[in-house]
């Protein structure tokens, strides 16, 4: 498949804050004011998209947007104000465990009759819901492991070595065809989705944007390195059993071999990653910097919080027979299984 080197197009605005940020990126308008930022809902479409636009400059940028805007002081000031709304809401709304061990212990319990998105898709998900799920998650999986790479220079010793080893595995162990983002693109092809980076940004719901913004927020701030490590641990600990359910959903709906392989690979890989992240990364970080324990716990629990919001959104739409996307997803190619 030829690599599409073009940057993604800027998405449609979802309110005054995201509209102003997008216009500023185009070089054609002022940044949003304090009042507009203060009035936007913290987890809502407008604020989350505005934050996503700011963060995306650190990944691949946008077509027609000057790359140097990544470090534009005025834009960074706006980003900080938007981040403050998001982070304040996360701190206020997240039920935080009393300790890292307590937070992890809860993640390690795997209820037989769980009711999350992977349980739903395994038991009764239809192919159109599987496709929607993949389109939504593509905002992360097409840059899988990238937000976490930012933490590497902020760690050292066991934590750095463990984190780098897991990231190396996420990036395919040195083989381009095994990079997890590439495996996800293969899954998308099976599902007849467009694998172009950023293609489904317009379609993704606010709750999905929040899950990706959380990683970027934690990854880009050294002050939140403990939270980033906690977030990564939460993802890796919950991924293996969740991936097993999603692999079953792929098989049952006939999604295709690459779709099954993506989740099968994560069952096995993340069973290893969980161990390394718990013992080496968290263990190593807290041995060096025990004062970060509360941040690690916050990172674990904030991840659960935003994932719960996403699950509630997806399941409420699907149970009502409605799409979870803001715009329909066309079949890009005939499905062959």
């Amino acid at each position: 498949m030829p690599h599409v080197s073009q940057e993604p197009r800027l998405p449609s605005a979802r309110g005054p804050v995201s509209a102003a940020v997008a216009e500023y990126l185009r070089g054609s308008g002022p940044l949003p004011g304090h009042a507009e930022i203060a009035d936007a809902a913290a987890y809502g479409d407008d604020l989350q998209l505005a934050l996503y636009l700011c963060y995306e400059l650190h990944y691949r940028g946008f077509d027609g947007v000057a790359p140097d805007l990544e470090w534009d002081p005025d834009l960074l000031r706006t980003r900080a104000a938007v981040e403050d709304r998001f982070l304040s809401a996360l701190r206020a709304d997240t039920a935080v465990h009393e300790s890292v061990d307590a937070a992890i212990a809860e993640l390690l319990v795997e209820p037989v009759d769980g009711s999350g998105v992977s349980h739903y898709l395994r038991k009764e998900g239809e192919l159109w819901q599987v496709r929607e799920y993949a389109a939504q998650r593509s905002l992360y999986h097409l840059k899988e492991a990238d937000p976490h790479a930012w933490v590497l220079p902020r760690l050292w010793g066991r934590a750095k070595a463990g984190m780098a080893a897991v990231e190396f595995d996420e990036y395919g162990g040195g083989r381009a065809d095994r990079v997890h983002a590439k495996l996800f693109a293969d899954l998308m092809t099976d599902l007849g989705l467009d694998t172009t980076y950023g293609r489904y940004l317009d379609a993704a719901c606010a709750e999905l944007l929040a899950t990706v913004n959380l990683m970027s927020l934690f990854g880009l701030h050294r002050s939140l390195r403990g939270a980033l490590v906690g977030h990564f641990a939460a993802v890796e600990i919950t991924s293996s059993p969740g991936s097993r359910r999603l692999a079953e959903a792929m098989r049952r709906t006939g999604a295709g071999p690459a779709a099954e392989f993506f989740y099968d690979e994560h069952v096995e890989a993340d069973a290893v990653h969980e161990q390394v992240v718990r013992h080496e990364v968290i263990g190593g970080l807290l041995a060096e910097e025990p004062q970060l324990a509360a941040d690690v716990t916050f990172g674990i629990d904030a991840t659960g919080h935003v994932e719960d919001l996403l699950a509630a959104r997806l399941l409420s739409e699907w149970r009502a027979g409605r799409s979870s996307l803001r715009s329909p997803v066309d079949m890009e190619s005939p499905h062959i299984s």
Binding site: E110, P111, A165, P241, R244, V267, V272
Partner: protein
């Protein structure tokens, strides 16, 4: 292949409630004589015998209580 004196022993990490962690790559011979291999930097070998991807760990050793929502 003989070990060179500079080789250090391969580390295996054991846990009472969890997989054996072995530095990869590994080749595992199963009871029926077939082999499976993994070139991951580390592999997790199932010790609870519940894995559906045996000999690799799939986290099936975790507690699985009924009647809880998650």
């Amino acid at each position: 292949m003989p070990n060179s004196p500079s080789d250090r022993p391969r580390r295996i990490t054991v846990q009472r409630r969890g997989p054996l962690l072995v530095e990869g790559p590994v080749e595992v011979e199963l009871e029926d004589g077939t082999t499976v291999s993994s070139d991951r930097f580390r592999v997790a070998l199932c010790t609870c015998r519940r894995s559906r991807r045996y000999p690799w760990c799939d986290t099936s050793h975790r507690d699985r209580p009924h009647q809880r929502d998650a």
